[in-house]
């Protein structure tokens, strides 16, 4: 039974991550476009429905899945095949310890954890697994039997190992504050008070962690391993079709995982600023009503805004009706919700398990919102900052971030000792 539940949770989380990936790719392309003052992808359509270019991601998936899988003759075949698998595997397995919400307690049942495994060594597990990510890159670089790939692999190995050190040291301050490595403890310790979140208590650690995370995920401004202008494409230069896609997905999965960790460690995890979990549980009816009303209003307003964009004969084909496809149902659902609220609003009362489930749903929602914000942050940074030079990158890692992280530990420990 336990194993079944764990397997289900695992599958669910994997499903969520896999499905956020195309969304992020779309966000990346659109974000890049708007930062560069252009429209971005907006042509692919299904019966005129373009979803603001989201269909492009779907197209990419289909293309990559059905493209011919080329394994060049000069590569080391077993490792060449293994490398992308490792990359993807490592990127997603970290999600196992991320808590999405408080354990749900229903009656006298055992608490239902909103995470796959609540490990005593949670944060260390995260580091242990993320330190394995370098294998995918290194083995890909080595197996490709190509100078560019080899250099890319070497660079990334050096970079990831160096930045892991400051990454690990930066969060020691958080261990000291929480007195535990368990991620749920760290979240609980931060609580609902915004100013007790670690972003305010450990700002130095946050910036070090953030920079190290960029280096770990091989994203700009630290994407030296795959810098197009110097290394063609770095370690995955020989890869194509789905194997390439696995690397690509791993990168985005890494971003998602990284955002989850940032949200958990520094931004209170599932906590809502200034609204404590107890309060929500006590006033579950009120919260439900507010949410119900809010959702209804949002649908009506959003739907009608979409409908206003409907202009006849702009393109002269099906695409003209696209706003209506979403606008009309939106408005209708909104009115439906509001009407139901007017009729039954006062008669609704939650069953016994209601408050807990509602709380869990809200917490998951808040957590996902935080995660999506940081995912967007990654993309924002990518299209804003220029790339570092390699020696600058190493110098930054060893000569600035490492001493800073150590100083942060010293100060935190001193403060903890005084208190």
């Amino acid at each position: 039974m336990d194993y079944t539940v764990a397997a289900l949770k695992t599958f669910l989380i994997f499903f969520v991550v896999i499905n956020i990936v195309p969304l992020l790719i779309w966000l990346e392309r659109k974000g890049a476009a708007y930062i560069q003052d252009r429209r971005g992808p907006n042509r692919a359509a299904i019966f005129g429905v373009r979803l603001g270019g989201l269909i492009h991601s779907l197209n990419d998936v289909v293309k990559l899945l059905f493209k011919e899988d080329i394994i060049p003759s000069h590569v080391n075949k077993p490792l060449f095949i293994l490398a992308p698998m490792i990359a993807m595997f490592v990127a997603t397995i970290t999600m196992a310890v991320i808590p999405f919400g408080d354990p749900v307690v229903i009656g006298s049942h055992a608490p239902f954890l909103l995470q796959v495994a609540d490990l005593n060594v949670g944060l260390l597990y995260v580091f242990a697994v993320s330190s394995l990510g370098v294998y995918g890159v290194m083995l890909a670089g080595w197996a490709a039997n190509n100078k560019y790939a080899l250099l890319g692999g070497l660079r990334s190995a050096a970079q990831m190992v160096s930045y892991e050190v400051s990454m690990g040291l930066s969060v020691v301050g958080i261990f000291l504050m929480a007195g535990s490595l368990r991620l749920s403890d760290i979240v609980n310790q931060q609580g609902a008070n915004l100013f007790h979140w670690n972003i305010f208590l450990q700002p130095v650690a946050f910036f070090i962690f953030l920079a190290a995370l960029f280096a770990e995920t091989n994203r700009l401004p630290f994407d030296l391993p795959e810098g197009e202008s110097e290394l063609v494409a770095g370690f995955h230069v020989e890869y194509s079709s789905m194997k390439f896609a696995l690397f690509f997905m791993a990168e985005y999965a890494h971003i998602i995982v990284g955002s989850c960790i940032i949200a958990t460690l520094f931004f209170g995890g599932w906590n809502i600023p200034f609204v404590s979990s107890e309060w929500i549980k006590m006033n579950a009816d009120l919260v439900l009503k507010i949410l119900w009303m809010g959702l209804g209003l949002f649908s009506v307003v959003g739907g009608s805004l979409l409908c206003r964009r409907f202009k006849k004969q702009r393109y002269g084909d099906l695409r003209d009706f696209e706003p209506l496809v979403f606008g009309v149902p939106g408005v209708l659902t909104g009115f439906g919700l509001l009407g139901l609220f007017a009729i039954f609003g006062n008669k609704v009362f939650l069953p016994e398990w209601g408050p807990s489930v509602l709380l869990a749903a809200i917490q998951i929602g808040v957590f996902l919102a935080k995660v999506l914000f940081f995912c967007f942050f990654f993309i924002w940074v990518r299209w804003t900052l220029p790339r570092f030079r390699y020696d600058q990158l190493m110098k930054l890692g060893w000569k600035i971030m490492l001493p800073l992280a150590l100083a942060n530990i010293l100060v935190t420990a001193w403060v903890a000792l005084v208190n």
């Binding site: 293994l82 490990l119 005593n120 260390l124 290194m138 080595w142 070497l154 190995a157 190992v161």
Partner: protein, 164 residues
Amino acid sequence: MESIIFYAFGGLAVVTALLMVTRQNPIFSAVWLVVCFFAFAVLFLMLNAQFIAVLQILLYAGAIMVLFIFVIMLLNVREEELKPKVLQFSGILGGGAAIYLIILFALGVLKEKVASFPILPADFGYVAPVGKLLFTKYLIPFELTSVLLLVAIVGSVVMGKRKL
């Protein structure tokens, strides 16, 4: 359940260790050794050593073996420079010695009375008790490890840096 996990991962460790020793190309040896260390980590978990199990992955798989593969890549020895395996005198000698040692040790160990594991407190091997011990009773050995690491840093810089 316990014995299934033990035999599965114990067997995995032995098989991967043998593969590590017999591969001609060091990079395959390294990859097999990483798998072997994972099997070790699972066995450590079975022995109520959560903290150490994670450290095993973090340090061995995440740091030491990465360093190995890094060096293999850095030296970049091509396939054709690798020597074919030949069974030499030292091979026979080593094989004999290893089998002899295994028999000796195993016999020695098995002669003891059957020793099953006792029940332990729930937090045995968690971070807090291990850490507490490390910073109270074993503080001085712990500080010695920092000296050791410093020596290793100085040493590897002396050996590795192109220009001092």
